[in-house]
Amino acid sequence: MDRAERRIVEALTSNPPEVSYNPYAYNEDIELLSFPVAIVLVAALANDYIKRRYALAEARRAYSLFKLENEEKIAEIAGKFGWKIRVINRQIGFIRFSFALHFIDYLKNAIAFHEKEWKLVNRMVHNGEVYLSKHDVARLLQEEVRRYIESKIDLSAEVKIPEEILKYVEKIRQICSEKIKETPLEPIPSGVVNDAFPPCIRELYEAIKSGRHVSHIGRFTLTAFLLNIGMDAESVINLFRSLADFNERITRYQIEHIAGERGSRTKYTSPKCDTLRTHGLCVGSDELCRRVKHPLTYYLRRTRALEKREKARVEE
């Protein structure tokens, strides 16, 4: 029980989060048994932040353990998660590939990583398998473990918790109370600043304004973006008025759907750069583009820069 509590507290107080592994302090049985108990504790805490943080910490711990294992052992562990994986130990060019992993198992985990070397297109893929180094596989397994633990912790489940355990739950909750505060979202400046539009949005905006044909996904992107930066639905609808196939009723419905006012509660966020690139809507990158992953981030930075410039001018 104590070890289970320590596992969670470690996860919440270390940075980056990681659960320690000390074979001398706790024997293997305790290590094994404390894990399911920790999962129940985290579920009982019913807090999404703790859940994610704990899963990440356990996963990082697993990662450090995997790195110490040999190829066969790693393949065996991966097999337990249902991965189709083979040890190949093959040298191609200047790189040594230790494993070949089925592309679906690869994608399900690599999708969480955003660096370009994790994009499938930048990997050696042959006959349904992705060729990987030992380090790559350990990293992918870490992600698998993280997803696995998160899926095991069901916050909505009504778990009957014995008195005994509740004590621990309270204790952990106290220890972590400052940690749990949600980080507030960056405030979006009020008022729409056209000059701060990223190139992709500017292009779509101009196209719509001059009544040119814009693809469905292009319209969605523009609408969601404008709503996200605080334009009201009415102004967005008016923007679409110049289109040849403008239909007030349908446009209103679509835009209010995206805004989340009608029918479903969903409020959509405009797509990220990566998605726009896939669909050919990213128009070249300027300096700032290269440093952002989302058109909204581009917009926020630019508005801030513009504001500063404004101030500077006033003070002069």
Binding site: G93, I111, V125, G128, H279
Partner: protein, 412 residues
């Protein structure tokens, strides 16, 4: 005078009454959503479901739809509203259509007419009418041989990746001609059904080469003691690595001074590349051309490789593959814009498949029509047209083709 739509509908009706078994029943029909367009209303009827193949066939025979679609997705309740259907999975689907690909014919055969002032023009439809500024057009697009060949070669590149890189077997890959200007490729294998849009997007990026980086495909500078030299991908490498090498080989085989200048290379270097072309091509047999051109370093090669990669990608319609609720045309049914059949064929036939022959499906007597305007077109072994404001007697498929395109009228 017979109404065009009535005439086409009769021809479709005859096809469906005689060939209803050519309509291909999708796997797990009870979990698929169906959609139809009808001649009269011209609107899409969606959210239809059928428990048995016979129900679907009866529906088609009775209603004679102008187009038949079904969902690439599987649902627990296909007839429910979109967010209540219960998504179970979706086939992996690719659409290659000449509409989205630049072609050598420049679509000169396509005609657009401004709805505002009636101005006509050729090629890609403009955004705005040059005369009246109107933005709404009627367009007639034609499946020309060049368009179809371009679509075929993109499909071949796609199939190559699906088999060699993704490891799908020929039996797992279903190919078909769309009935208009492109090809469809579909995979129904167990493993891919539950993939979400994000993962499908990664597959799309792989196929279109989006986000590819030559530096992650073997191009690098190595140090050996004091000397530094470049290494790069070779022709027999797997996957994109080999593809980049092949693309570079082909690009340098034919590159003009202009092509190289467009990459932003310096004049001196361009001259050197052009003058040592033979040597460069020869070098692929050994360690590659990376150190052959003095002054051409990592940056320059990277530009060449990135550019070369674009020719190796397959130009699929990105939106279609990522959309896990997509409706697609049902194989064995007629295309309302051409009267041609969407027809399936085995992967092995992609090279020699003749869409304008094998998609012919309508039978009946010759028809006399008045053609307003049509470019020359081939159906089967015969070439028809070009026609301009004239009456001609045509075999039924050719007549229906023009009627569907709204380029002719039936004269009795």
């Amino acid at each position: 005078m017979i109404d065009n739509l009535v005439f086409i509908r009769n021809a479709f009706s005859r096809y469906y009454s005689e060939n209803i078994d050519r309509v291909e029943i999708p796997k797990s029909i009870e979990n698929r959503e169906f959609g139809f367009t009808l001649f009269k209303e011209g609107v899409m009827v969606r959210h239809k479901g059928f428990m048995k193949p016979e129900d679907l066939k009866d529906f088609i025979k009775k209603n004679i739809p102008s187009n038949v679609f079904y969902s690439a997705a599987y649902y627990s309740v296909p007839e429910a509203k979109m967010d209540e259907k219960g998504w179970l999975g979706s086939d992996l689907f690719f659409d290659i259509d000449a509409d989205h690909i630049p072609t050598k014919c420049n679509k000169k055969h396509d005609v657009w007419t401004c709805r505002g002032c009636g101005l006509k023009g050729r090629g890609m439809t403009p955004d705005k009418c040059p005369t009246c500024g109107g933005e709404s057009f009627d367009d007639k697009t034609w499946p020309c041989e060049i368009c179809l060949e371009t679509a075929r070669s993109e499909t071949i590149k796609l199939i190559d990746m699906l088999m060699n890189d993704f490891g799908f077997s020929p039996e797992e890959i279903k190919c078909s001609f769309s009935g208009h200007r492109g090809y469809h490729v579909q995979i129904e294998s167990e493993g891919i059904l539950d993939l979400d849009s994000d993962i499908r997007k990664e597959i799309v990026d792989y196929i279109t080469g989006t986000g590819i980086d030559a530096l992650l495909h073997g191009l690098e500078e190595v140090r050996d003691g004091k000397t530094r030299f470049l290494v790069g991908p070779s022709l027999d490498d797997f996957g994109w690595r080999g593809r980049i090498a092949k693309g570079t080989y082909e690009f340098l085989l034919a590159a003009t001074e202009n092509d190289l200048r467009n990459l932003g290379l310096k004049r001196k270097i361009i001259e050197k590349i052009l003058s040592s072309r033979d040597e460069i091509l020869e070098s692929w047999k050994t360690s590659g051309p990376w150190n052959l051109v003095e002054g051409l370093g990592l940056d320059g090669w990277q530009k060449i490789l990135q550019h070369s990669a674009t020719f190796q990608s397959a130009k699929i319609d990105t939106v279609v593959t990522v959309d896990i609720h997509r409706l697609i045309r049902l194989p064995g049914t007629l295309h309302g814009k051409t009267g041609l059949l969407k027809v399936s064929f085995p992967v092995s036939r992609i090279e020699d498949f003749d869409p304008l022959k094998e998609a012919l499906a309508l039978k009946g007597e010759e028809v006399k029509v008045y053609v307003d305007e049509a470019p020359a077109f081939r159906l089967g072994d015969e070439i028809f047209g070009p026609f301009e404001k004239q009456s001609v007697t045509l075999p039924l498929p050719a007549a229906v083709f023009l009627l569907c395109k709204n380029a002719a009228k039936v004269i009795d």
